[in-house]
Amino acid sequence: MPEILLNGRPVQARGDQTVLQVALENGVFVPYFCWHPQLSVVGNCRMCLVEVEGRGLDIACNMPVSAGMKVLTDSDDVKAHRKAILQFITLNHPVDCGICDKAGECTLQDYHYAYNGEKSLSVDDKVRSTKFYNLSNRILLDNERCILCLRCTRFTHEVSKSMALGVERRGDVSNIRPVEDRPLGEDPYSDNIIDLCPVGALLSRQFLHKSRVWYLTPTPSVCPGCERGCTIRIWHRKPEWFVKSLDPRQNTAIARITPLENPAVNGPWICNKGRDLARIFERVRAEAPMLKGRPVPLAEALDAARRLIGAARHPVALVSSWGSNEELEAFKRYLGEVFRGHVKRDWLPEEGERIEDDLLIRPDKNPNTARARELFDEGEPAYHDGTDLVLVWGEGYDFARIPPQARVIFLNAYLQPENGHAEVFLPISIQTERAGHYTNFQGTVSAFEPCFPKAAAVTDAETLFRALAAPARGHP
């Protein structure tokens, strides 16, 4: 365990570490663009230059520790060099922060103010390059802003292995470019390069110009796209930045989704499906309890349901694998004696969706099958002529499988045709409207928090299960 001196302070290092790693672990920040803990070291940005007594300046990200070395991360020489490196980076940088989505979370902005703060020393024209280039239908590339840290190309070579990106030409006319006939669009992890990019060279097209990042707040959540359960951040408007819009839904929309770093589950990545959750969560919602398609007040619907439950001889339930741990446990607690519960996989893989790989994607496209299986039976219910009540919780069940004589109680969040076919229909909340936990396929439990209020007529499933367990009015 070599000991080194970091700005005069002795710290313990591991023999296989670099000076940058040791510094960061010991609370000494050394700025960097191109280094990333999950990617190979390229040492091209030169921002992490530090001074070593007797050796001058060199990059810290590629510098092995050696016992007794004396490292200075803030000497005058280091400061002068950082300033110069930033002068070079911004030499040809368009500095179009005014129209760049990265503003507010841009490493170059942050470092400029922290380490340079001066205008360019150049009076010559900047080198121009391609802007607004559709790298794929999801990602926009701006080669003028690009600082050629090569995080994006390394990601596609080392992590997602799509080999989709490279560098064309050389010198200050080098550009990031996609491989010609296999578009980046086929890489289900492509959007991670948007997070990786330290500047605004790679931007999400679905987020483009939607909002300034400081208008948004990130809420921790869990992606329901598969049983990996990657932790994510759902970004949405801060209340003080609500737009005075005619449509209130502008302020309760998902602005974007990014990974929430999680060493136990997904590291710093998520797949593109996790970025697109708005297309799942923001489908039209069911907002009214119904009896056979006729909207009724909740109390009336609950009462009807309780009567059905009370009268049923062979009740069967299809339990949602999108139910949270809390909801599943509540179902078990309140209705588990009454209903024989069967795990329902609400979502199956869609056409063209990757089934499985050795990175993140898992074949079961539901977030909580693991917990559901612990509490309920696997497999299709054994229907028979006596089956008289089927409770379907969550979407994705083919109602044609329900025996014709059975009554149906349906709990669902989204506006779907089946809602009107059920004897009793109860609209429920979705993950973004409540707190809860999912258990992933490895048994890891992750938490999600609410982002949005739920509509007045929508109830948490947990509350409904308790309510349904109470005896019906007029019954003992």
Partner: protein
């Protein structure tokens, strides 16, 4: 003749490069001696004892580089002769490839034997045509004579060689850029650590030596380190090939015994400066070395230590003689254009700095220079010095700051008067 000749020691004819004539000169005798009477460690020891310095640019001792390779570490080792010769002003490795290719091949065989190398390579710049054909022809001859392949000269030593052609990139002459290129990729240099002698070609221990550096090995083994050290100076043993060009009457490649007086060499062997002009300055070792004025070189010998003391370097041995009446500002523009064109673009200071240097020089030459431009040129040079992945950024800095140090007045004049003091002239009339 500027001292003793080791490599250019014979008259060049239409056939003097052939295997037969090389053998007639004693060629492949050193290989016999090494394979039959010396162990690999003894060969390395001899090369180290000779003090042979690299002749590609850095003058790093060859033996010191070799010693990092652990002979029996159980993994493949590679030896690569750097024949990418792209440093402007340099064309001396070309002479060896065209006129004495077998001295390189024999030396590479001896070196491979010493380093435990089974597969060696010559990386030759893609534009070279006759040098490539001569070298390829020599390789064929050597294979046919059993000097390459299995069980060479009846010993256990086996060695194969591949001549690998570059494709047009000065930066692929940098050892790690060369290796990246030889791996079939773009010629991006790599950070050290790890040293190439630890992890080089395909992450294996690799020795990259200049063609001329390697070509000395045969003589050293044939005659011994002690004999080599008697040639040249104590700090610069042996000879060096200099490619002389610019405004001299007799440009060409000359082998000079190190320590030989510089002016004597220029006046007697190179025929002096054309048109009877005085020397304005000399680029001693390729444009990446700092220029020295005519006055500064007057009493200097051609040796590493003399040039280091004078603040320059023998570098690649590419000597460009510049006569009075040459506009150093226009010349600098060409240099900055060159580095800009050749920067690989990986690292920040060089990628942006080279273009910046070039654009400033374009502006000055176009009569739009500003007083602060000179300080900018120095600034860019300073922050490319020791901050980059490879030496290209540093080299551009040395080139421009070296010229500014000696000829600042010319730049100030051009900026103030918006024209060259010498009408932008770069030429010198040929003596009739």
């Amino acid at each position: 003749m500027p001292g003793r000749q080791l490599i250019m020691s014979f008259p060049v004819t239409a056939t003097s490069h052939s295997l037969d004539e090389y053998r007639a000169r004693g060629g492949y005798g050193a290989l016999e001696k090494a394979l039959r009477t010396m162990t690999p460690a003894e060969v390395t020891k001899e090369v180290t004892a000779s003090g042979l310095q690299g002749r590609g640019g850095a003058a790093f001792e060859v033996g010191r580089k070799w010693q990092v390779v652990v002979y029996d570490d159980g993994q493949p080792h590679y030896l690569i002769a750097n024949a990418d010769e792209g440093e402007p002003g340099t064309f001396k490795d070309r002479w060896i490839l065209e006129n004495n290719p077998h001295v390189l091949l024999e030396s590479m065989l001896i070196s491979s034997y010493a380093l435990g190398v089974r597969n060696c390579f010559v990386y030759i710049r893609g534009e070279f045509d006759l040098p490539y054909r001569r070298l390829a022809g020599a390789v064929e001859e050597a294979y046919a004579a059993g000097y390459f392949g299995e069980r060479i000269l009846g010993t256990d030593f086996c060695c194969d060689i591949v001549v690998y052609r570059g494709a047009g990139a000065y930066v692929a002459g940098e050892a790690s850029g060369l290796i990246a290129s030889l791996e079939g990729k773009k010629g991006y240099p790599r950070n050290r650590p790890p040293r190439l002698t630890v992890k080089g070609l395909y992450q294996r221990p690799t020795v990259v030596n200049n063609v001329e550096s390697l070509s000395n090995v045969a003589w050293i083994i044939a005659h011994g380190a002690a004999a080599f050290k008697e040639i040249g100076t104590p700090k610069s043993p042996g000879t060096r090939l200099f490619s002389v060009s610019g405004h001299v009457n007799r440009p060409g490649v000359y082998e000079v015994e190190l320590g030989y007086p510089w002016m004597k060499f220029l006046e007697e062997d190179c025929g002096g400066v054309r048109d009877g002009r005085a020397i304005k300055c000399v680029v001693p070792g390729g444009v990446s070395s700092k220029v020295l004025t005519g006055a500064e070189i007057r009493d200097l010998p051609l040796s590493h230590e003399a040039l280091w003391d004078a603040g320059s370097t023998l570098g690649s041995g590419g000597m460009i003689v510049i006569a009075e009446g040459t506009c150093m500002v226009t010349l600098s523009q060409i240099l900055m254009r060159f580095y800009h064109h050749e920067s690989c673009g990986q690292c920040t200071p060089c990628r942006h700095g080279m273009g910046w240097l070039h654009r400033i020089m374009d502006r000055i030459v176009a009569g739009q220079g500003r007083p602060e431009d000179i300080e900018r040129l120095y600034y860019i040079s300073k922050f490319n010095d020791g901050t980059t992945i490879c030496g290209l950024g540093d080299a551009a800095g040395y080139a421009i700051s070296g010229i500014l140090d000696k000829f600042r007045g010319e730049f100030e004049y051009y900026i103030e008067h918006k024209r060259s003091r010498f009408q932008g002239n770069l030429e010198c009339p040929r003596s009739s």
